[in-house]
């Protein structure tokens, strides 16, 4: 039986989770708490402010997580933290906190790849054993499949991530960042009905979102400055809800298409969606239709695990720790660039 505490802070969420692994039993989540830095509407989260947020909350969250879990410091086997990828300043704050805990409590450190954390937690929660993974968040858009001890990237967004595209579009429309811009776009999209013509950019298993963002930003900008836009068929006015709807329908169709291509390529029928955008129910629904057509199914988790959290870092870190992996203090750096396929996955066959 081993217990790990995980610290995550690669973007605007600070998460602390405590997990217990017992051989031949599912992992037990002893606590999983999060505090989000929410910026005002029309603004994104800046690295400096986000780092200050993480620094001021990390002690409180670690204490609360320990209390909730009922675990004593002595029982903890290792401290896991996000090594990257992510925003520099927030990553550093959390790495410093993890190092401090490791020295204070005399525990080994385990540096974890954020993306691998998402994948492993998704597999653990859903029970999908060898799925094609669509990882979609504010910083990442990747189609991943496992082969020979690596999570290999088959396709990805060549410029900005899907979540980044949604977040920045929300800023243009002054949509609230509370609880998350993507969530608010999803709610507005449910009321949209007219599909406007948006660029659709898929190249094989890769895709691109900056053209979409540029287009819809300009379109929304014209609307906000009072230019009337009408639907070509019905002549009805285009609303901000229609823009959200069109953006989702187009961008998600691109994601489902590249995922399907990867599934055909590797011959898999399972698909697992992870990352913050993976919470979106319309994306899950579209992916489900595609997977069903291929005789398979989609696996997705809810906001506790989709959105950045500490438990996934604890889980992936503990898997590595059990194979003998630790990160010495003098190597316990963090990095903004850390590709998913750089990690040697020793814990899988």
């Amino acid at each position: 039986m081993t217990i790990a505490i995980g610290l995550e802070g690669s973007a605007n969420k600070l998460g602390v989770g405590i997990i217990r692994h017992t051989p031949s039993k599912p992992a037990e989540i002893l606590s999983n708490i999060r505090h989000t830095f929410v910026s005002p509407p029309g603004e994104g989260f800046l690295p400096k402010d986000t780092a200050i947020h993480h620094r001021s909350w990390v002690v409180k969250l670690v204490k609360q997580a320990l209390k909730e879990s009922g675990v004593t410091v002595r029982e903890v086997d290792c401290i896991c933290y996000t090594k990257g990828p992510g925003m520099g300043a927030p990553l550093q704050s959390v790495a410093v906190a993890a190092r401090t805990l490791a020295l204070l409590w005399d525990k080994p450190l385990v540096g974890v790849n954020h993306c691998v954390g998402h994948i492993e937690m998704g597999r653990e929660i859903t029970g999908a054993d060898n799925p094609v993974v669509l990882y979609v968040s504010g910083g990442n858009t990747q189609v991943i499949a496992y082969a020979d001890q690596r999570y290999r990237i088959f396709g990805e967004a060549l410029d900005i991530a899907i979540g980044n595209c949604l977040d920045r579009f929300a800023r243009t429309l002054n949509i609230s960042n509370d609880p998350a811009p993507g969530y608010n776009i999803e709610q507005m999209a449910k009321k949209g009905k007219h599909l406007i013509d948006i660029p659709y950019t898929v190249k094989g298993m890769d895709c691109s979102f900056s053209g979409i963002l540029g287009f819809i930003d300009a379109y929304a900008g014209e609307m906000l400055s009072g230019v009337e836009k009408r639907d070509a068929d019905s002549g009805e006015l285009i609303t901000p809800e229609d823009l959200c709807f069109s953006l989702q329908e187009t961008a998600f169709a691109m994601l489902v298409e590249i995922t399907e291509r990867a599934m055909a390529h590797v011959g898999s029928t399972q698909v697992l969606i992870v990352g913050g955008v993976g919470c979106n129910e319309r994306l899950q629904e579209m992916m489900g239709i595609m997977a069903r057509d291929r005789g398979g199914s989609v696996y997705a988790t809810d906001e506790r695990f989709c959105i950045d959290n500490g438990i996934m870092i604890a889980h992936a870190g503990l898997l590595a720790f059990q194979t003998g992996f630790t990160t010495p203090i003098d190597e316990s750096t963090c990095t903004q660039r850390f590709r998913t396929d750089e990690v040697f996955v020793k814990w899988r066959d």
Partner: protein
Amino acid sequence: MAPPRSIDGTLLKQGAEAHVYKSTFILPSVPCLIKVRPTKPYRHAILDTRLTKHRCVSEARLLNRCRSMGVLCPAVYFVDEKRGEIIMEWIEGPSVRDFLHDYVDVGCDFGNGGNNRGSNDEGIQLDPLMENIGKTIGKLHDIDIIHGDLTTSNLMLKNRENLAITSNSQEGSRLLTGIATSPSDFDVVLIDFGLGQVSNSDEDKAVDLYVLERAFLSTHPRATRLFNIILDSYKKNCLGSAVVLRRLQEVRLRGRKKSMVG
């Protein structure tokens, strides 16, 4: 979008985007290939119609452009963009992938030596075939067409005399001794322009070559020598090859993928 019709033919391949059938065109004696892009129920109907139509038309245009500029590819017989169908010429012959596979299977020396004869006395020279491939891709890039999915499966061999070339690996020896005597008698035909585009960018051309290189090296670990013949021939036959090959070095270093930020 027009309702899908049932295709009178044999389903050959069901990919993520298209289904491919073998059938006949007008006369029972004229074989053809039908490429159908079926409706994707997960996406909005308007978007689906728009994409299907666009892709169908653009693929047909690329095929026509290639053909008119002297790059061998299937002739387009008929396009029904509302149904997302292209009916095109049937190319009889093995893919380069199957051909190399057969060649390796019968125990020929694949990667070393000058004459490639190896253990099989009837062995044939692969070098002229590689030169031919390099020349074909060079010509394609000279007319600013990017294939987008250059794998050994998308390169087909067609005998100049229009004789069939067997690709059955159990009959590998027949392949080498039989109808076609030398790969220099083959034409290289490019197929599947589904991911193709018109572009004069060196980056796009270099990525095209990089994709082919990866496909080659995964076909056989000793294929490096063969791929170098392709590159040499590309260099000789393509006007802008110097810049593209320099770019290829960069693409190789970083892989096709960018370094990931955040």
